[in-house]
């Protein structure tokens, strides 16, 4: 278990190191997220009430689309007939590769989200209840489900032609539970809804996360065969 | 209930049109494949005949 965690950490570290050298995906995601905030402001120009209503949806849509830019790349470098050429030569568990890549994506998307959050809050004049743990639970669980499902689908799409075109097509239908539950719980917290009303939404996020934590153990190795 | 009958008609027409359309597409694909299979078979036979012949004569 400890050895497995070390392998995952090592792969995640290497991924992040490679990303830190170029910062390509990170910069693209961050700038894209901020741009979307601006574009939404122009396109919707919402009044006070409408702003509160659409804010959680806009926030998550931005996170999903920005994250998609990074996810698409996480297996792209090794795409082709020999996926992950370098990494697969090492006798590392296939599952460790998945969780390493997912952890790296989680860090990158997490930073982008933390950077975009205050900007969105300012642009749409929404005060975020930062001391409310439920807000963070919604953000963390939603992001976790998105990254786990997204990393898996990115690995899957990397086996096909035009993977970057295919990824959103395959990912978003499968991501529907996260889209619904993340937006509704974040929105509920902002609207000061009762925890009981949102409990089922959190439960959906947890179930989704658990399923996509378990699936790679059973299925990920099939995606890397050559 | 006139409109009800109209909706009923449209629904059933759509169901049967899609089903027959799908059957027609299956048939068309099957025929196209069979034509290709025959031409490939013939081409392969010719090719193998050619390569066999010189070996036989020499």
């Amino acid at each position: 278990m400890v050895r497995f965690a070390r392998k995952v950490g090592l792969i995640a570290f290497r991924e992040l190191q490679a990303e830190a050298r170029t910062k390509e995906a990170f910069v693209a995601m961050l700038v894209f997220a901020l741009l979307v905030a601006v574009v939404f402001s122009f396109a919707l120009n919402p009044g006070r009430e409408a702003r509160e209503e659409i804010f959680p949806g806009l926030l998550w849509v931005t996170f999903f689309f920005a994250g998609l830019l990074g996810l698409g790349r996480s297996f792209a470098g090794d795409r082709g007939f020999e996926p992950l050429g370098g990494l697969l030569l090492a006798p590392v568990d296939r599952a460790a590769i998945f969780f390493g890549k997912a952890a790296a994506n989680l860090v990158l998307v997490g930073i982008v989200e933390l950077a975009a959050l205050p900007v969105f809050s300012a642009f749409f004049d929404i005060r975020l209840p930062l001391s409310d743990g439920r807000l963070w639970a919604s953000l963390v669980l939603g992001t976790l489900g998105f990254i786990l499902g997204g990393t898996f689908m990115a690995a899957l799409a990397a086996n096909a032609r035009a993977a970057e075109l295919l990824l959103p097509l395959l990912l978003f239908p499968v991501l529907v539970p996260v889209v619904i539950a993340a937006v509704q719980t974040t929105g509920g917290v902002l609207a000061r809804a009762l925890t009981e009303e949102l409990a089922f939404g959190y439960r959906i996020l947890v179930v989704y996360t658990v399923v996509f934590l378990a699936a790679p153990w059973l299925l990920f190795e099939y995606l890397l065969e050559s | 209930m006139q409109t009800g009958l109209w909706f009923l008609f449209v629904a059933f027409a759509v169901v049967w049109a899609v089903l027959f359309g799908y059957l027609a597409s299956l048939r068309a694909r099957q025929q196209r494949l069979e034509v290709e299979l025959r031409s490939l078979d013939a081409a392969l036979g010719r090719r193998e005949g050619e390569t066999d012949a010189p070996a036989g004569t020499s």
Binding site: R161, V176, I180, I204, Y222 | V15, E48
Partner: protein, 220 residues
């Protein structure tokens, strides 16, 4: 095979007759209610088809027998055809009974997402050229897609309860004659599904043979 086709055709005609003529007119909804028979029959078979995709996908990964992959691919395509029918007849019903073409009713919404998932499955297959890789990757997606469906359904149901809809689907109390008509229709469409799967897997077999021949011709 020939017998199966004849029985399926006879059952489809019987279903048509029972649904359109023999079953009594619904007291509240009137004639439109008869859309119900093919609608439920196609919906049931769409679920059956996608379950077969799951079974074929798991069996392929276990045995690496291409026949399982052909079964999964065929069943997915037919499932998409049936789901398309559900999504076409559903709105016609909705327009006639509720006055709108579409409502975000949990069952409608889940069916729509189901359609997207398996259209994705077919697009994915079309985007991979090597047969063994296509079979393997599609099988993984076939399993994940299926596992996801119940979670989608729960989330959509929950979403609807916090966004109450004005339109409530009326409860259908089925008379015995209606139930008979429904069951015959379900059976007829299931037979049709069996015929279609048989045709479609044969197509897939010939297609694989053509691809193999083309490969041999290239290497010869």
């Amino acid at each position: 095979m020939r017998i199966l086709i004849r029985v399926a055709a006879a059952a489809m005609i019987a279903g048509l007759y029972l649904g359109l003529v023999w079953a009594p007119e619904d007291a509240i909804l009137g004639q439109v209610q008869r859309i119900f028979y093919p609608h439920v029959a196609t919906a049931w078979n769409a679920y059956l088809a996608f379950t077969v995709v799951l079974v074929g996908s798991i069996a392929y990964l276990r045995t690496r027998n291409e026949a399982w992959d052909r079964l999964a691919a065929s069943s997915a395509e037919i499932g998409v055809v049936f789901t398309t029918l559900v999504l076409l007849t559903g709105p016609i019903w909705a327009r006639a009974v509720w006055g709108v073409w579409w409502t975000w009713d949990p069952r409608l919404t889940t069916t729509l997402i189901l359609w997207f998932i398996y259209v994705g499955y077919l697009v994915l297959r079309a985007a991979i050229d090597q047969p063994d890789r296509r079979a393997r990757i599609a099988a993984v997606f076939g399993i994940i897609g299926f596992i996801d469906v119940p979670i989608v359904h729960f989330s959509v149901t929950w979403w609807r309860t916090i966004h109450p809809s004005v339109i409530r689907p009326g409860k259908l109390d089925l008379e015995p004659a209606m139930l008979v008509a429904l069951l015959v229709n379900v059976a007829a469409f299931t037979l049709l599904y069996a015929v279609l799967v048989a045709c479609r897997t044969r197509l897939e077999r010939v297609s694989a043979a053509v691809a193999a021949l083309r490969e041999r011709l290239r290497s010869a």
